[in-house]
Amino acid sequence: MNIGRTLGLVTGLALGVLIALVVLKLTKTNGRIKCEYDERQALIRGKGYKLSFFILLFYMVLYGLTTVMEIRIPADNFVVMMVGVCLSVSAQVIYCTWNEAYVSLNENPRKLIIAFVLIALVNIAMGVSSIIEGKVIVDGILTFHCINLVAGIMCLLVIAFIILRRHLASEEE
């Protein structure tokens, strides 16, 4: 890997961490970065992590089997790994959202939804730009440039679940 690409990767990662920190701070009602959960939420979140762990485990075993059985997946290893990560993260988020344990005590749900919408839009825009530039599929192989699109779709899914759950909760009240 040349120096330019390495620098680009490091800068991108640093920018990602910085944006995540800003989003974490801005979505809180008390100006803190850390999320605070009550005992029921902590319990549900633990179950959510367990679910996501087993989904990732199952996914990895399936992927391992495809290589043993010499089934060719038309995608980069990185793409396959990231799709697995996105699947397991989505499972955890959806489980916690459904059981009303995703939004922490010191988080503003509206700001959180706005942050997710912005993250989704940025990722989808980058994904669409990669498609237009023809970087997503090269020689019939799905490249890592599709990750933004996958992340964007995951964010949209999360937004949809948060809104749906809030709507159902308000109806229950």
């Binding site: 009550d38 005992e39 029921r40 939420q41 009303e100 344990a101 005590l105 909760a169 229950e172």
Partner: protein, 64 residues
């Protein structure tokens, strides 16, 4: 099983679920889950709720 004692004690003090939740440091959904009988709170949370509503553990959480 629904915890109607908690619900009525809260209503008697004219508190909403959100207000009680803020006073004991949990989410509104957690108070709702306790009242609906979907969640069994820890003894610490039971005590916090009892102190806030000026009730004893027996009065709110003991099933006759």
């Amino acid at each position: 099983m629904k915890n109607l004692k908690l619900k009525s004690a809260r209503a008697a003090m004219d508190l909403s679920q959100q207000q009680l939740a803020e006073m004991v440091g949990v989410s509104r959904q957690t108070i709702n889950a306790i009242e609906k009988g979907d969640y069994n709170p820890t003894i610490n949370l039971c005590i916090a709720i009892c102190k806030t509503l000026n009730k004893t553990l027996d009065q709110l959480f003991w099933e006759e």
